[in-house]
Amino acid sequence: MGRYLKFLIVGIFFGIILVKSEAVSWYRIFEMFKFQSFHMYGIIGTAIITGIILLLLSKQLKLKTIHGNYIRVPVKERGLPRYIIGGSIFGLGWALCGACPGPMYILVGTGAFTVLIVIIGALIGTLIYGIFKNKLPH
């Protein structure tokens, strides 16, 4: 159990930040897709800029993981259709239920139990993808 404790703490931190930043709110997602506030763009923008800096620094300093390997981000597979079509389908759902796969769980923690319906839907969607994966253009 000890080796999982650090992941539990990361998760708690993640949940708290998503709630306190209001990024778990359906309203904030609506507002973002309407381009009516800078809030969500500020969050995503500063996250990316900070991420770029952290990754460049870790490369410069040759930082290693706890397992002793260099810190490395998994490389995304090449392809176009999967990213543009899959991304758009995701966007439709994200804007409809205002929750992406992290906030879904966090919202349940805030007591919004009807979000479990969204989670069940997401599991069904994942299952459908698994079934039709080989028939889809990637």
Binding site: F14, S21, Y27, L54, K76, G79, Y83, C100, I117, A122
Partner: protein
């Protein structure tokens, strides 16, 4: 304490997400929340029939622990670290939502018009939440990641596929909000 109870500004919370991504990389893992949906399908036995779910899900237990923590974090932040919710939405958003039939925008995290028990278990509400979930689940797996995997991790590491995926997120989102919402609500 008052600062903690207030909503946190974007320039505090944004960098925190990058730090979470980085901590997970330091632990030798990568930040990706949607992978848990695949893991849960595998735990449910989907691997018996579908090749895609045939993998050693036990290697993904750490990510489920992150989810467990996230649920706890949501509980803690909402119950102990927040003033009564009053999201400072732009006036245009409040007006637009009103014209779609959403009253009191920003007084709660989620609109009761969609997520109250009553709304969620009406036929229309149930279909909307379920279909929304299906689109998220299918889309994220097809695109190979969601907001955490593509928008944060992928863009931070300057990967082109993630940029394309994020452009896709916005194409879908803009279609939903601007073209489909007026039909639905």
């Amino acid at each position: 304490m008052e600062y903690i109870l207030q909503p946190w500004p974007w320039y505090i919370s944004g960098p925190c997400f990058a730090i979470i991504m980085f901590i997970l990389l330091y632990f030798g893992r990568s930040f990706g929340m949607s992978s848990n949906l695949k893991t849960l399908c595998a735990i449910g036995g989907a691997g018996k029939r579908i090749e895609f779910f045939k993998f050693n899900w036990k290697s993904q237990r750490w990510n489920l622990v992150v989810v467990l923590g996230a649920i706890m974090g949501g509980f803690i932040a909402h119950n102990y670290l927040s003033n009564p919710i009053n999201i400072d939405l732009s006036q245009n958003t409040i007006d637009d939502l009103k014209s779609l039939g959403f009253e009191n925008a920003g007084k709660s995290l989620l609109p009761p018009e969609l997520f109250s028990w009553e709304a969620a278990f009406s036929i229309k509400g149930l279909i909307l939440l379920l279909v929304g979930g299906i689109l998220v689940g299918f889309g994220t797996r097809y695109a190979g990641g969601c907001t955490s995997g593509h928008a944060i991790t992928g863009l931070s590491s300057l990967q082109l596929p993630s940029l394309v995926a994020v452009i896709g997120f916005f194409i879908g989102g803009l279609i939903m909000i601007n073209l489909i919402y007026p039909i639905l609500f």
